[in-house]
C-alpha cells in the first residue's frame, strides 16, 4: 500500500453500503443499541464481559458483510498508544495483590497488572471496532436523522438541537476530506524533497515529517469549511429549526428486536 493513502486507515466514519440486514435497521434503533453497547463496554469491569462484547462486535461486522480484515485495519493506527498504556499498566498497577513476579524499586510486575493491561487494550479495541461497525452500517444522514428524531423532545425545552446535529454531520464529512488533504500536502512536500515515501527512514524522520503537515492541514481545512458553509447557505440551509427528511422511518418489530438483543448483550457485558 502506498504511504500517501491516508484514507484506508481512517475506517472510522467510513460508510460502506453493502445492503446488509444491519444497514436496514432504523437509525434510531442503531443509535440506542450501539449507544448501550458502547456504554457497557466502557464501564464493564469483568474480563468475560469484555470478551462477550468483542464477540458481539465481531459477529456484527460479519453480519454487516464488510470484510473483517478491513474493519481490523482501523486498529493499527492506535496500536502504539495501546501498547504504551498496556506497559504502564503492567508495571505500575496500583494493587499488585499477591502473585508478584518481580520488584525493582517502584516497578512491580504482577499477574494482576498484566491482566489489567490486557483488559484495557481489549476494551479499547472493542470500542474502536464498535464505533467503526456503526459507521459502516449507518450513513451520515441516517445518523443525523436518527439523532434529530431522538433529540427532538429537547427542542421543546428551547434547546437548538439541529445545529448540534449538523456539527456532527459536518465533522464526519470532514474525516475523508482530512485524509485527502493530508495526502495532498504530503505528496507536495515529498515531490520537493521531503522524506515522505523514501524507503530507509529512522523513526525520528518519520515523526519529524508529520509536524510540517499539521499547520497546512489546519489552514486548508478552514478554507474548505468556509466554502462548504457557503454551499450549504446556497442550498437554503439554516432557516427552519425542523428540517424534514427524505426518509420516513417506521419503527418495525425488527428494529425493536435489534434494540432488545443489544440491550441484552450490554447487560451481559456489564453483569457477567
Amino acid at each position: 500500500m502506498s504511504e500517501f493513502e491516508f484514507l484506508p486507515s481512517a475506517t472510522i466514519g467510513q460508510y460502506i453500503p453493502t445492503g446488509s440486514i444491519l444497514h436496514r435497521i432504523d437509525p434510531r434503533a442503531k443509535l440506542v443499541g450501539f449507544g448501550l453497547l458502547m456504554l457497557a463496554i466502557t464501564f464493564s469491569t469483568s474480563k468475560i464481559g469484555i470478551g462477550v462484547g468483542l464477540a458481539a462486535v465481531i459477529l456484527g461486522v460479519i453480519l454487516s458483510r464488510v470484510p473483517l480484515k478491513y474493519a481490523l485495519k482501523g486498529l493499527i493506527p492506535p496500536l502504539p498508544f495501546m501498547i504504551f498504556i498496556a506497559i504502564l499498566q503492567f508495571f505500575f498497577y496500583p494493587n499488585p495483590g499477591t502473585s508478584i513476579l518481580f520488584i525493582l524499586g517502584p516497578v512491580v510486575l504482577s499477574t494482576a497488572g498484566i491482566l489489567s493491561g490486557i483488559l484495557i487494550v481489549l476494551r479499547f479495541f472493542t470500542l474502536i471496532l464498535a464505533i467503526s461497525l456503526m459507521s459502516f452500517v449507518t450513513s451520515t444522514s441516517e445518523l443525523i436523522q436518527g439523532l434529530q428524531k431522538l433529540l427532538a423532545p429537547l427542542n421543546r425545552l428551547g434547546i437548538q438541537t439541529m445545529d448540534f446535529v449538523m456539527v456532527i454531520q459536518v465533522t464526519l464529512k470532514f474525516i475523508p476530506f482530512l485524509a485527502q488533504s493530508a495526502e495532498r500536502i504530503a505528496k507536495a512536500q515529498a515531490s520537493r524533497g521531503a522524506e515522505w515515501g523514501v524507503k530507509t527512514r529512522s523513526l525520528m524522520t518519520r515523526v519529524r515529517q508529520i509536524i510540517p503537515l499539521i499547520i497546512p492541514l489546519f489552514t486548508t481545512s478552514l478554507r474548505r469549511a468556509e466554502t462548504m458553509a457557503l454551499a450549504m447557505d446556497a442550498r437554503a440551509y439554516g432557516f427552519k429549526t425542523n428540517r424534514t427528511s427524505m426518509f420516513e422511518y417506521k419503527f418495525s418489530w425488527r428494529d425493536g428486536l435489534f434494540v432488545l438483543v443489544l440491550s441484552a448483550t450490554a447487560a451481559a457485558i456489564l453483569f457477567i
Partner: protein, 580 residues
Amino acid sequence: MKTLIQVDHLTYQHPGAAEKQAPALKDISFTIEEGEFVALVGANGSGKTTLARHLNALFTPTSGNVLVDGNNTREPRLHQQIRANVGMVFQHPEDQIVATIVEEDVAFGPENLCHLPAVIRSEVDQALKIVNMGENRRRQPHLLSAGQMQRVALAGVLAMQPRCIIFDETTAMLDPAGRRDVLNRMADLNRMGMTILFITHFMEEVSLARRVLLLNQGSLAFDGTPQELFANVALINDSGLDRPAAARLLEAFPSLFPGIKTASADLNPLLEAIPVYTGIAQPLPILAVQGPGNLPNEIEIRDLSHIYMAGTPLAQQSLISVSMEVKKGIPHGLVGATGSGKSTLLQHLNGLYLPQHGSIKVGPYDLNSPEVNVKGLRQYAGLVFQNPELYFFEQYVGDEIAFGPRAHKESDIRESVKWAMNLVGLDFDAFKDRITSTLSGGEQRKVALAAALASHPTLLILDEPTAGLDPRSRRNLLSNLKQLEGEGTQAIFSSHNMDDIAEMVQNITILSKGSSLVSLPVYEAFTDREMLLGAGLEQPSAVRFAQALRYRGWPISRSAVTLKAVADEIRRAMDGATHE
C-alpha cells in the same frame, strides 16, 4: 417577460479590505428576465464569482440593491425564498457536496425547504434522472469522477425546483466530454424555461448564450449579444480574454469565407463556406521530421498497473497495464478524459507511487530496483500538480518556493528561489512576502511552477497546468514553458485541452479508462477524430479547420496543428493562388 433579477448600482467592498483598496464590484446595474440565457465573462479576479454570489444573497451589497423576484437581498428573512428561487453550482464539485451518499446529498436542499418526505423523494428521483445519475444514487460522492460529481451538484440544485440556476465556472475543471455534457444540459434546461446564468472564460462557450455580460476589474464593461462582443476586439483584449478561434479566422481571412459577415464562435458554418482551392497544386511542405528515430528513451513504462486502496472494499483499479515511451528531449503529452488515470501515471514518474505491477525507468532511475534513490528521482523529475494551489502548504510565496532547495540542502537557497521566480516572471522582491492564498489564479500557477523549478529538475512534469486559467494567464504560462524548454528542461504535460497539447508537445500518449490506447506524433493523433471522441476528447479547432481546407483541395500539411501554423500555410497557398 417578467423581471427575475434586478441589480441596481451594486458596489461591493470585501469586508476587512483596506479603505483605499478598490471595491471588488463597482456600480453595476442590469436586469435579467425570466427565461433568459446569459453568460458572464471576465478574467481571473475580475469579480465574476463575487457578482454571482450577490444574486442569491450569499453576499449583500455594500451599497446599491439586488432584487430577486422583487425580494431585496438585504432582508435576511427573505433569504430562504431567494435561495429557493436561485440555485448555484460551484466550480469545485467536491466543495459543495454535503452528504456522504449521492441521493442524500441531492435531498439536502428540499429538506432545508421542509418539503414532505414523499415530495422530496419524487424531486430527488426526477433531478437524478435529468442528470443521468439514477444508477449511482447510492454511491459515495468522493469516489465519483469530477464530471459525475458536478452532475450530482447540479441535481442537488434542480431538486429544489429553482427558477434560475447560476453555474460558477462549472466547466473549468471538466474534460471536453464533461464540458459538452454540462453545456447541453444548460441549454436543455433553458429550453424548459429555466433562467440560466453561467460564468466562463471560454469564449467558445459564450455563443451558447443569447446575452453576455463582461466584467473588467469589477466594472460591467459590456452587456449585449455574443456577436457584438466578438466584434469588439479592443474590449476583449483589454479584459484579458481571447476571441473564439472562429472569429479570429474570419478576421484574418475574410476572403476564405464568402457570404459570412458576422463573427460567431461556431466553426461549422465557416468550415462549410470554404471555397475549393484554385491555386496551383504545389508540393506540400515537408513534415518536420523529428531528429533521428533512434533517440534514447528518457522514460520507459512497461505494463504498469495500479490499484488505489488495494485490499479494502474501496479498492479501485486506476491503471491497467499501461506502456509508453518518452524520447529524450522531445516534449511529450498525456491526454485522456478525467478519470482516465493521467494523474496517477504522472505521480509514478517522480516516485510518489512505486510500481505495484510492471516496470518504470525514468532517466537514470529504475523504480523497480530496491535501492532506487527516490529523493534523487524527485529532484530529477519535478512535478506540478493539477490545481497546484490546493497543494500549497506554506503561507508565504518565498517559503513555498524555498521548500525544495531547503530540503535538498542547497548552499544558496535565496539564489535558487530568485532564479526560479525570475524564470516564471514573478518579481522576487515584490512577491516573496506575499501570502499564497491572496494571489490571483494565474500568479498561483506561477508560484507552483517556480516551486518545482527551484530544485533544478531535468524533467518537468505538469498535470493539467492550464485548467481554470483565463486566456491571458494561460498564454503567459505556455510561453514560460516554451522558454524553459528552449533552455533544456524537458516537459511531460497532461491536459484535456487539445489546443494546449497542439502548441506544446510533439508526441502524445492517449489514455482511456486506465489503459494506454496508443502513443503517436501529435499530428497523427489529432487527425483521427473517431479515436479522440472515443477517449472523451475532441479535435483542436485548428485541426478541424485544416482538415476542411484539405478536403477542398487546399495544400495544408498534416503537421499544421496550431492556428498559427495553419494560418501560415494558408498565406503560402494564397500566394500560390495569386501568382497563378
